[in-house]
Amino acid sequence: MTTGSDDLHVLLGAYVLGGLSDDDHRAFSEHLRSCRQCQTELGQVSGMPRLLDLAGPEGGPHLTDTPVAVPAPLMTDHDDEHLVTLLGEVARRRRRRRAWMSVVAAAAAVVLFAAGAWLGPQLLTPTTPTLPTTHVAAAAVAGSQVRIDIALVTRGWGTQLDVNCEDMPTNGELALWVIDRSGRATSAASWRATPAGYSRVTGATALRPNEIQALEVRTGTGKVLAEART
């Protein structure tokens, strides 16, 4: 069976893959000489046989009737577990990356304190990356230039709050407040400012991450430096 001249373009596919009758092959070769469109398209797909030859002799597992021989455990649905591991790792790397929001504002006065960086309540057991962790960047409020990253780690007893602060006030007390869905605020950690303006503290709340509406870092006098909505 041959093809009408209007339908000649379509022969390009079988011309590339093979299998055209002699008549069709001749007709397409002739058509190709004068058809710009087919010349262009052939240029794009003429390397196809070479690529197809990279596959196994029968075209690989998707073309034969035997299914892909991938060990069953790899393909079953541990996906959610893996995803939790993956997101834990994301949280860890994100902390390192410090992609924090920064807002330009006035600098605070400098008074030196001889305090260490690890102050807040140390309720925690060491963090393992497999725990479900959510990260939030707390946005500095107007007039503040702090950069704060908070990791919410789900624990059996509530939520562990790993706080990383930079460009903080260098004197006075600082505190992390947790605001629940009803708007009630409770203190989850308090610590003393450091000369470097940098601190890493860990706080804790009985609330679960989904019960937390917002997190605020405040000064000892209650001024909000940064807030994050979850």
Partner: protein
């Protein structure tokens, strides 16, 4: 969920299964597959989360990672008994190319895939394919046309450009 988590979860759900197949078939090491896949996704998320061609980027990253690990471990791809590193690398490249092309064929829609199978791999004629599939010759021809076009697009997407 913060943006990062969502982005990573989405990459993982959309591309994880394909990556797992590719890595498994290129390394034949079930114990390392999930680790490699996760590392690939993390790297891509860090370096180019908004890449236009994410699939190609993921595959290229997987390729680098597998090659590096092979070198580091002094392993030979697919148990081939090869002597020098360059040779081992090119064997691994071939193994990866093979897997990628096979994956691309797997992503073709079924009625296009079977046309490629009969016309190209089984060397049947259009007429024979028509009989085998049970559709008119004209349909075989137009399916062959679209199969080739779509395959080109899929291969481009996977970064197989040679």
């Amino acid at each position: 969920m913060p943006l990062d988590d969502e982005a990573v979860a989405e990459i993982y759900r959309e591309h994880g299964p394909m990556l797992r197949r590719v890595v498994w078939r290129a390394t034949s090491d079930a114990n390392r597959v999930e680790d490699i896949v996760q590392e690939v996704i993390l790297r891509v998320w860090k370096q180019a989360p908004e890449a236009d061609n994410l699939r190609a980027y993921l595959i290229t990253t997987a390729r680098h990672l597998i090659v590096d690990q092979h070198r580091a471990a002094g392993r030979r791809p697919q148990q081939a008994q090869l002597v020098d590193v360059a040779e081992a690398d090119s064997a691994l490249d071939r193994a990866l190319d093979q897997v990628l092309v096979e994956e691309a064929l797997g992503r073709l829609q079924t009625n296009h895939r079977e046309i490629v199978r009969y016309l190209y791999f089984e060397r049947l004629t259009v007429a024979e394919t028509s009989t085998r599939v049970g559709v008119p010759e004209g349909t075989v021809k137009s399916r062959a046309y679209y199969a080739v076009r779509n395959l080109r697009v899929i291969l481009d997407e996977m970064g197989v450009t040679r």
